[in-house]
Subunit: 211 residues, 2 copies
Amino acid sequence: MNHRGILVVVSGFSGAGKGTLMKELMRQYPERYALSISATTRKPREGEQDGREYFFKTREEFEQLIADNALIEYAQYVDNYYGTPKSYVEDQLAAGKDVILEIEIQGALKVKQQLPDTLLLFVAPPSAAELKNRLIGRNTETMEVINSRMARACEEAKGMESYDYLMINDDLQECVQLMHSVIQDQHYRTKFNRDFAAQMAEELNEMMKGE
Amino acid sequence: MNHRGILVVVSGFSGAGKGTLMKELMRQYPERYALSISATTRKPREGEQDGREYFFKTREEFEQLIADNALIEYAQYVDNYYGTPKSYVEDQLAAGKDVILEIEIQGALKVKQQLPDTLLLFVAPPSAAELKNRLIGRNTETMEVINSRMARACEEAKGMESYDYLMINDDLQECVQLMHSVIQDQHYRTKFNRDFAAQMAEELNEMMKGE
């Protein structure tokens, strides 16, 4: 079976519980998965540690990463850069870990374009009504915040079909198991097992010649 | 989640244990799966029953099925036709059962071409050495039989990459569970859940208009 790691992108509606899902997946299968760590030019918040939450970079450093083609994808939000360093992901995949990137759709599509074997997972709440509740929040949000969340959710919904699998996060543990199963099954894709197929074919050819 | 059945083609080396795998899968999950029944013009053997092992047809009946485009795929071996009746498969899929076709590669590729959502699984023994043993058999086979098996295995090996997943049948129970998991995970493909995505998008749009 394929021993190289699989690259997995997880996206989904804000409030779909991606963060909790990822945390639980990592807690249950720490040997199997690595969470990709993004690079960013934004300042560390209290308690954040370089190389844990983010790789914190200066603007100059980040632009050098871009120039060196050292990022799988990057984007600019407000005044800051965010991106996925290639070397960390490559090292983890080579070590056999399945690497999970939690990024939004534009980034997901860029990754898929560059690395077509990437598995794209979309996490959604169980129903539109549930999503609505989560978007409106606890009556403490301003109209502006709610509107911007809804606009974003509309964009996110449009992108759902570009993903490979839809994970409905109703029960956390069920969703974690489903995600684990969907990712692990990927290791049995024939495209990741070309060595096995080639070896079989070669040995068969030798047998034919031997007769 | 998707409630329509998934069409699954299972192929693989002769002697890879496909028959036993299918039997065990059906035994463990009788509510979930239906085995497709082929139509054939060959005569029933002792103990075979029409509609159980095969749908037994006359040559005229079979050629009528071809003319009516009522077969998903068909082929001729020696002097007999073998084919997959469309109606039985369609009925089972509509009833929500995952339908399994056990056919060889030419048939598999024809099915995939006609029905691109078909899942193609390839079953292989754990190693080339093991395959070799199985092909040579119990020293009771003629050289002619062994040669024809090897030639066939070479053909089969070439086709492996056209399949979606490679199932290595080392431990029967493990392989059954893997096959079940790989098939069931297909129900979460976004392409089978377009209704869910469309409903989410529609409800979000209504919310936006409501504001």
